[in-house]
C-alpha cells in the first residue's frame, strides 16, 4: 500500500466550487482514473480521501492538498498522469509525492489578502485588537482574532493593499481570512477583496510537505 499526497491549485472556476462539491469531483476522478484507490472497510465502503483545511467559496489557493492510498504500489509520476487526465481541467496538480508529515500538523498558512483601501489605515487597524463576531455550530461569541495572526505585512499596491499574513490554520485553531476582510470593511472604506492562500507551514514555520 502506498500513501499519496497530491498538491493542487484551487484557482479561477474552482474557487466557485464548495469543498463538498470538490470532494465529490475528486472521488469521481478516482473512479475515472481507474487507479487502485484504497477503500474504507465497512457497510458503505468509500475511498479514503482527506483534504487539508478547506477554503471557503471564492477563496483561491496555490497550495491545496489531498491524501489517499493506492494498493498495489505504482510510481508517483504515473499517478499524477492518470489523475490529471481524469480531473476537470481547472484542477491543476502541481506535485504528487509521499506525505512527509500528517495533514493535522499543518499549523500556519501564508495568505495574500488584497483589498482596495488606504494602506496606512489598514496597517493601523491590523496593529490593534480585532474583535469579530464568530458563530460556530456550538456557540456564537465576540472574539479577538489578533492572536491568530502570526504576522501581517501590509504592502502598497496599485489602488489598494496586499496584506501578506501568516494565519493559524490548524484543525483546532483555524482563522478564516474572511474575518479580517469583514473587520476592515466595517471600520474603513475597503472593497473588492481577494484571498489567496500561498503556502502552508508546520509548527516550526517550515513549508509543509
Amino acid at each position: 500500500m502506498l500513501s499519496v499526497r497530491v498538491f493542487f491549485k484551487k484557482q479561477g472556476a474552482l474557487s466557485y466550487i464548495s469543498h463538498l462539491d470538490l470532494n465529490r469531483a475528486v472521488l469521481r476522478a478516482f473512479a475515472r482514473s481507474e487507479l487502485p484507490v484504497v477503500y474504507s472497510e465497512g457497510f458503505n465502503p468509500h475511498p479514503r480521501l482527506t483534504f487539508s483545511q478547506p477554503m471557503s467559496l471564492f477563496q483561491e489557493s496555490l497550495t491545496e492538498i489531498f491524501d489517499f492510498k493506492v494498493d498495489p504500489d505504482i510510481p508517483y509520476d504515473e499517478i499524477q498522469n492518470k489523475l490529471s487526465a481524469a480531473l476537470p481541467k481547472a484542477l491543476e496538480i502541481t506535485k504528487v509525492a509521499a506525505p512527509v508529515k500528517k495533514l493535522t500538523e499543518i499549523t500556519y498558512a501564508l495568505y495574500y489578502i488584497t483589498i482596495m483601501g488606504d494602506t496606512a489605515k489598514v496597517a493601523d487597524i491590523l496593529k490593534g485588537e480585532i474583535v469579530v463576531f464568530r458563530s460556530t455550530k456550538s456557540k456564537s461569541e465576540y472574539v479577538d482574532i489578533s492572536n491568530q495572526i502570526k504576522s501581517a505585512d501590509v504592502i502598497n499596491i496599485d489602488g489598494g493593499v496586499r496584506i501578506e499574513a501568516v494565519l493559524s490554520t490548524s484543525p483546532t485553531d483555524y482563522l478564516n481570512p474572511q474575518y479580517i476582510i469583514d473587520y476592515l470593511s466595517k471600520n474603513i472604506e475597503a472593497f473588492d477583496s481577494k484571498i489567496l492562500r500561498v503556502k502552508m507551514y508546520d509548527s516550526d514555520m517550515k513549508e509543509f510537505e
Binding site: 469521481r28 467559496l57 471564492f58 473588492d192
Partner: protein
Amino acid sequence: MKFNLNLFEKILNNVDKPGRYIGGEFGETVKSKIDGEVSVAFCFPDTYEIGMSNLGMKILYGALNAEDFIRCERCFAPWIDMEAQLRENNLPLFTLESKTPLSEFDVVAFSMQYELCYTNVLNMLSLADIPLLAKDRDESYPLILGGGHCTYNSEPMADFFDIISIGEGEIVLPSLMGLYRQCRDEGVLKQEFLQRATKVDGMYVPSLYEVEYKDDGTLKSFTPKNGAPAKITKAIVENLDEAYYPSNPIVPYLSTIHDRIMLEVFRGCIRGCRFCQAGMVYRPYREKSADKLNLLAVDCVKNTGYNEISLLSLSISDYSELPKLTDEMLKWTDEKKINISLPSMRVDSFYKDLMEKVMSVRQSGITFAPEAGSQRLRDVINKNISEEDILKACDVAFAGGKDAIKLYFINGLPTETDEDIVAIPQLAKKIVDHYFASPYRQKGKSISVTVSVSCFVPKPFTPFQWFGQNNIEELIRKQKLLSTSIESKRISHKWHEAKVSRLEAIFSRGNRRLSEVLVEAHRRGMRFDSWDEFYDYSKWIQIFDDCGVAMSFYAEREIPFDELLPWDHIDCGVSKEFLIKEAKKSIEGTVTPDCRTQCSGCGANKLGGVRRCCL
C-alpha cells in the same frame, strides 16, 4: 452588449451557488469559434440543477457538438439573485462554455419540458435583449428554436418561436443546422429559410399558419400558407441502437437532481394509460438491445466516474430483455461498487428476483402508482392492474424488508365519484392490514404508507384531452374528503397544489390567444412558476382577468369530439380516431390490453422503428 468578464467575476461573489454559472465541468465541450460554423445556445428554462438532469439536453448537446460545423453551448435560467445582478450591471444572459451573450449566437434553442417554464423562456429572452415576439425580430437576431415535451401543443408559445421542433431531435436538429448553414452561404433571408425548414422532419413554423376563431373562442380554422404542410409529423429515431447516445456526458460539480448515469432503455410505452401524455406521444415503442445497453453502461461508468446507473424509460419492467440486461450488468457493477436503480416499476411486474438484483439494501421504501383507488376507476383510466396485483407487489416489498410504501394517485379523473376518492385510503388501509398479517412482518417493526395525490390535468394527445379539469373548489373538496377518510395513523397524505395544476391545464390545452397572457405575465415579473416560493396564483388570476381571457375555458371545459383542437395540425403518430375510441371506452369502463398482448391499432407504427411492440 459586450460581455464584461471582470464584471461577471465580481457579481459571482454576490450570488448563491456561483457554480451554476461558470461551466468548466468535466466532460464539457468547449469549441473555438470557426468560420462557417453554426453556433447554438441551448437553453433550459429552469435552474442549472434541473436542466443538467435532463436527458434530452444531454443527448442534444452531444449530438449537436458531434458535428464539426456546430458549436453548441449551454445556458440555464439564472436564479433570482443572479438575474438581479445581471440587470443591475447591464450584463446580458450568456452561455456557460464561452461566456458569450445569447444574442451573438446563430440559433437560440429552448427545451420546454413543462408548461410552467413558459414565463422563464420569456424572461431569458428578455435577459438576452432579444425581442419576445418572432414578428419583432429582424435578420440581426438569432433564430429562436423550441423543442421538448411541451411542443406537442406549443400554441401558447407559438408567437415567440421561429421554429418548433416536434419529436425526437438527435437526427433532425443537425440536419436543420446544416440547412441553416447552406441558406446563410446562399445569402437566403430568414423568411425563405423558414419555408425551406418545413421540409425537415418535425419542423413546425408557427408564422406560416393563419388562425381564425369562432365567437365562442373555439378554433374556426387553422390554415397553412406559403406551401407549409397541413400536418407536421413528429420526427423519430427509427433505430435506437444506431442513434447517437451521450456516453460521456458532462459531470457537474454541483449536485443535480438526477446525479447519476441515465441509461435510456426504450422509448414509448406499451400500456396506454388514458391520462398519460408521455405514453401516447412517445410511441411507437422502440427498444435498445441489451447488448448495446451493457456496452453503453460500461462506457458511461468509465467516462463519468458515477457509481449509480439508472435504467430509464416509461415503464422499465416492460423491457423485453430486462433479465438479460440486469444479469449482464451485475457481472461487473457489483465489483465496481456501482448500483443499478429502476425508477419506474409497475406492480404487476415487480417480482422478487428483480428486486434483489437492483434494490439497494439501504432504501427502506418503495413507490408504486395505482393512480386510482377503486377498480372501477382504474379500469376507466386503463391502468390494467388489480388490487391483487398491488397487494402481491407489496408482499414482494415486505419480503425484501421494505417497511415504507409510497403510492401515487390522481384526483379529479373523468367519471370520478366520492366513492372512488374514499377508496384511496381504503386501499392504503388494506396494505397496512396486509403487512400485519404478512409472514414477512419483522418483529417490532411497523409500516408506513404514504398516499401522494396529484390533480388530473387533461393533456393533448391523450384519450382524456376532451375532458375538463375539476374546478379548484372541487379539487380542494376532494383532497379534504380524502384526508378525513384516513383512519390509520400509519397512513400519511401528501397532495399537489390544485392552483398549480390549474395553470398547467390552461397552458396544456391552450391556443395562441394565451401568448398575450404570457407577455403580460412576463411584464409583471412572473417566472419560476414551477417553484412553490414564486408561484402566485392570485397574480395569475389578475393577469387573465386583465387580459380578458377566461381560465375556465381552457381548464374546465369539456370539449366535443368534433371541435377543431389547437394541436390538430400536429401528428404525433397516434391517430385521433384511436384517441376518440379510447375516450369512449373509458366512459364505459372498458379496458384495452397492452400493445404486446394485442395491438389496438393506435397508428404510431406508421412512423417506423425497429424492435417495436408488434411487427
